[in-house]
């Protein structure tokens, strides 16, 4: 103990300037406050940095969560829904300030069954069996496209378009139940608007990509009147698009307007459907002109249901 006492006393050898420096650090309120301020600033900066990094990571995550490396032989479309300044925001019910509400989609790999259903809303699938295959392929026929329906792997079977849906599905190797869950649709939909007490689609935008089958480009669009009365069909052009406008009267009395835009060179089809209360054809055409479809080399999983709804939620802020 004597040793340590001596050592304690020997601390007197610590230089005066060092002692003063330590005292200043210890007793000087300004320095303590300065340290506190520095700590707060450091903490704030660290928090801002973490938030910033988190935001970047989240943005990267959102941008990549549904994408994967493109497979050889697949193509994809990147749809950008640009803001339409002329369209009433309350009518669109979409946050167009985000500018590039986008969804990525792919064309199914060869050998897959490329059925696209017009609707995947709950209840719509129940109408699947009642749906006329001919009306489902209305769009393709309207545009005079060569169309074929192919069985899923491993065998390909030529299907007669005059066959009934159930039979076609059976030959395609799918039962009706499987068919309900099998679709490759790339769409944006806004069902948040409450219409007459129900959350109905007030706008739906779908992209149908083309793919090569038997050496030719094919688009299979699934569009079903589902028992509605077709009130008018108008064909024409809209910019680079071939255009068809279909207005239908639902049994409920609701009017649906459907705008089909086919790009013959880029070979894709856009379907923009709006509730007649909110979207008449001039508005749909305006929206259609503001949609930019860009072919990319990105390929996403074909089961897009979740993606569509996530994007819809994201965009409809």
């Amino acid at each position: 103990m004597l040793n340590s006492l001596t050592l304690l006393r020997a601390m007197n050898g610590i230089h005066e300037e060092d002692v003063i420096m330590a005292e200043n650090r210890f007793f000087d309120e300004k320095q303590v406050k300065h340290v506190n301020t520095k700590r707060i600033i450091t903490f704030a900066l660290a928090a801002a940095l973490i938030l910033g990094l988190g935001a970047v990571a989240y943005a990267i995550y959102r941008a990549t969560m549904y994408t994967r490396i493109p497979e050889e032989g697949t193509t994809a479309y990147h749809v950008l829904y640009n803001a339409d300044p002329s369209a009433p925001p309350e009518m669109l019910h979409v946050n167009f300030d985000r500018t590039k509400m986008a969804f990525r989609s792919d064309v199914p790999p060869d050998g897959c069954f490329p059925v696209m259903r017009a609707s995947d809303l709950p209840g719509a699938a129940e109408n699947w069996e009642k749906t006329s295959l001919h009306s489902m392929l209305y769009v393709a026929q309207r545009f005079g496209l060569p169309w074929e329906m192919k069985q899923r792997r491993p065998d390909e079977v030529e299907i007669d378009p005059k066959q009934e849906p159930d039979e076609l599905l059976k030959e395609a190797g799918m039962d009706a139940e499987t068919a309900k869950t099998w679709f490759t649709g790339y769409e944006y939909r806004d069902t948040k608007r409450n219409v007459a007490g129900d959350n109905m689609d007030i706008i739906r935008i779908e992209l149908y990509g083309g793919y090569r089958l038997h050496g030719q480009e094919v688009i299979l669009g699934a569009f079903s009147p589902d028992g509605a009365e077709v009130r008018s069909v108008r064909e024409g052009t809209l910019g680079e698009y071939q255009m068809v406008e279909v207005q239908m009267l639902q049994a409920s009395g609701a009017i649906d307007n459907h705008l089909f835009l086919f790009h013959p060179e880029k070979y894709y089809l856009l379907q923009i459907s709006g509730n007649g209360i909110y979207y008449d054809f001039p508005v749909l055409e305006q929206i259609g002109q503001n949609i930019e479809v860009t072919e990319t080399n990105l390929h996403v999983d074909s089961y897009e249901n979740k993606v569509n709804f996530i994007l819809a939620d994201l965009a409809a802020g």
């Binding site: 340590s4 050592l7 610590i14 230089h15 420096m21 210890f26 303590v32």
Partner: protein
């Protein structure tokens, strides 16, 4: 009053010297003494002894920094107090803990005071401390010069208690190695 004027009072043998010193550095010296002795009575006695000692040392000496000059005297009295009252292990205030900690720096066997004069040891410690990084230096000095409790150092410097303790531990290890190298223990 400025330090220089207080020192002048000592040199002039003015009675005001002690009262001015007490006014300016009474609390400072009392804190140092209290940290070492652990009781107000002993601390007060050490402070009074300090003034008396300072009165005797000046005018021969003219300290450049009055605070550390007085602080050193107080420390010595406080350490003597602890030593004299033989309260080294129990009831000796913060000094007991500090002395226990400093035991680590001195290996058994030869005592430094038997090897070298105390002045040499002081010089070695002075140069060791001056080379320490600033945060370690501050913590070390507050702990072993001012004998401030670890809790208080941590609170005042806005460090965690663990950080202060680990800093002290590292520095003591370094000091031990340094003293060995210098042949002081």
């Amino acid at each position: 009053m400025e330090d220089e004027k207080i020192v002048d009072l000592y040199w002039q043998r003015s009675d005001l010297a002690i009262s001015e010193t007490n006014q300016k550095y009474g609390r400072y010296c009392h804190t140092i003494a209290y940290n070492i002795c652990g009781t107000d009575e002993d601390a007060e006695e050490c402070v009074n002894d300090t003034w008396f000692r300072a009165w005797n040392l000046m005018p021969d000496q003219r300290p450049a920094v009055l605070s550390t000059f007085l602080g050193r005297i107080t420390r010595n009295f406080a350490i003597d107090c602890v030593k004299a009252r033989n309260r080294l292990k129990r009831g000796g205030g913060e000094a007991v803990l500090v002395l226990d900690e400093l035991e680590e720096c001195i290996t058994g066997g030869t005592s430094p005071e038997h090897v070298l004069e105390e002045k040499e040891l002081e010089a070695a410690i002075g140069s060791f401390v001056s080379e320490l990084p600033r945060p370690e230096k501050v913590i070390f000095i507050l702990r072993y010069w001012h004998v401030v409790p670890v809790d208080e150092i941590a609170k005042r410097l806005q460090f965690s208690k663990g950080k202060v303790k680990s800093s002290l531990f590292r520095t003591r290890r370094k000091l031990r190695a340094y003293l060995r190298e210098e042949g002081l223990c």
